[in-house]
């Protein structure tokens, strides 16, 4: 079957800062980001899709898209809520693409929003854990952080690498994020700070995990022609559930296949990408993602990162806005933040040096890598 080409334009984008927003609730965040997109002008959307991972479990506002639509003054539109753990943002974008390609709608507003600061850290971690196997993992004291620690230790032992090499994913994220005025940790990270950071679960420390925060990002997507950034590739793939597979096998088959399919849909390869927004909720998943999408051979991601292969000015720049690690991790919104930042970078509107290549790859993961959603962006 011939695949229909994708050529969905990012007509406008908006985002809040990533922070602990004591005076803003979940719906407020969604309204701020969505409102920024509406204020950019153009026709209003026919549909609103929200992306959120934790709100239902935290007892926050359900049916978020409906409430955001009302507060934005958008009555009569279709509303849809997407919740796919930390792949919610990418999945919401993909649903918007489907609505547009089907001809159901002409313009779809996607808003990713997450509110984490109303909950205490241990409650947040317990809620995040229910994106894993709730019965056999979350109920046994396992969480995404514990899983990342298991994987990190196994990766280092299997490849015979020094623990200090894990500084480099965080270093890159912070170096690029230091220029993101909307990021929660907008400063460079020194190796001394990294080596002194407290242990959470051996060998993982605070600096190996992205900080959870509040935030919202939004995009208006349309089939209407025009210049700017377009989504030219898209793929969502699932693999075996459970933390054991990525920890034991040290690979992310869903991420690999999702990237391959999205690139194939766009008629491109990884070498065509100026930048990559990969899922760095933990440095372990970041490293496996880098190897999965073809940035580095198996076992080489940390060594290549150490050599500066992914720093700005190079051929494959990672985390142009700081990634989840420096910009901040609003779990359900992360996929939309990634797309917004990649789009801004391709248009030269972010303070980061890229090559002259005109494409970007954006990938978010859910349920510790069992679900991967990838999009390819092209600037025209």
């Amino acid at each position: 079957m011939t695949e229909q080409p994708i050529n969905i334009r990012v007509a406008a984008a908006g985002r809040t800062r990533s922070a602990e927003e004591w005076e803003l609730g979940l719906v407020d965040l969604a309204v701020l980001a969505g409102g920024e997109v509406l204020d950019a002008g153009g026709q209003p959307p026919d549909a609103i899709i929200t992306a959120n991972a934790l709100g239902d479990a935290l007892g926050d506002q359900r049916n978020l898209a409906l409430h955001a639509a009302d507060r934005l003054g958008l009555h009569g539109v279709e509303t849809l809520c997407v919740s796919c753990d930390e792949a919610s943002g990418g999945s919401a974008i993909r649903q918007a693409i489907a609505l547009l390609l089907s001809g159901f709608h002409q313009r779809v507003l996607v808003i990713g929003a997450e509110k984490t600061s109303d909950a205490l850290p241990d409650q947040l971690e317990a809620v995040r854990a229910t994106g894993l196997d709730a019965a056999q993992e979350a109920s046994f004291g396992f969480s995404p952080t514990v899983a990342a620690a298991l994987g990190m230790g196994r990766y280092l032992e299997h490849h015979g690498l020094a623990r200090e090499l894990f500084y480099h994913p965080a270093r890159i994220a912070h170096a690029h994020g230091a220029k993101n005025r909307l990021g929660i940790f907008a400063w460079p990270l020194t190796v001394e700070q990294y080596l002194k950071s407290p242990v959470v679960a051996t060998p993982l420390t605070v600096c190996d995990n992205a900080p959870l925060c509040d935030g919202a990002a939004a995009v208006m997507l349309t089939r209407e022609p025009g210049p700017g950034v377009h989504i030219t590739g898209s793929a969502s793939v699932c693999a075996r559930r459970g933390i054991s597979a990525p920890v034991v096998d040290l690979s992310l088959p869903a991420a690999r296949e999702s990237a391959r399919a999205a690139l194939a849909r766009a008629g491109l390869t990884a070498a065509d990408m100026a930048c990559f927004e990969l899922h760095d909720s933990s440095s372990f998943l970041a490293v496996l993602s880098m190897e999965a999408v073809g940035l580095a051979p198996e076992g080489r991601a940390l060594l290549d990162a150490q050599q500066g292969a992914f720093d700005e000015g190079g051929q494959s720049v990672l985390w142009v806005g700081g990634g989840h690690k420096s910009r901040g991790h609003a779990p359900g919104a992360g996929g939309v933040f990634q797309l917004v930042e990649a789009a801004l970078a391709l248009q030269g509107r972010l303070d980061v040096r890229l090559s002259k290549k005109e494409h970007a790859l954006v990938q978010c993961l859910g349920s510790f890598g069992a679900l991967a959603v990838t999009h390819v962006l092209t600037v025209r």
Binding site: D122, F140, G141, S244, V247
Partner: protein
């Protein structure tokens, strides 16, 4: 924590009971209503032997809610003799002594409790072979 949910999980949590597919023989833990390999619904009860090897281990210092009482606790991926990889806490061991390659055996231990007067959930943990 819900009593009915805890009761429903007892075969898996207390006896390591899963299923073997009646058609293709695939083992599943916990029990599978439908075989993910061949789609069969002919499942036979299968009790895993409880012996295994640690593949990966971490010592947790900041735990999710409900597990603070165990901190610091060793959390591991255990490969059972039948080939299933199972995330589980280790017990009866100094966390500093937990390492990949350790041979372990299943035992029943307290996993979590709901406050001082609420229900207590017991389930499998793994201890060094010969200790349990």
């Amino acid at each position: 924590m819900q009593i009915a949910k805890s009761w429903r999980r007892q075969p898996a949590n207390l006896r390591l009971e899963g299923t073997r597919c009646g058609d293709c023989g695939r083992l599943s833990f916990p029990a599978a209503l439908r075989c993910s390999a061949c789609g069969s619904t002919r499942a036979q009860e299968f009790r895993f032997c409880g012996r295994g090897e640690v593949l990966a281990v971490t010592v947790v210092y900041e735990a999710p809610r409900d597990f603070a009482e165990h901190v610091p606790y060793p959390a591991a991926i255990v490969r059972l003799e039948e080939g299933i990889d199972l995330p589980a806490m280790l017990t009866d061991i100094d966390p500093a002594d937990a390492h990949p390659g350790l041979q372990v055996t299943m035992c029943t231990r307290r996993i979590a409790a709901q406050g001082d007067a609420g229900p207590i959930v017991y389930a499998y943990k793994f201890a060094p072979a010969g200790e349990c």
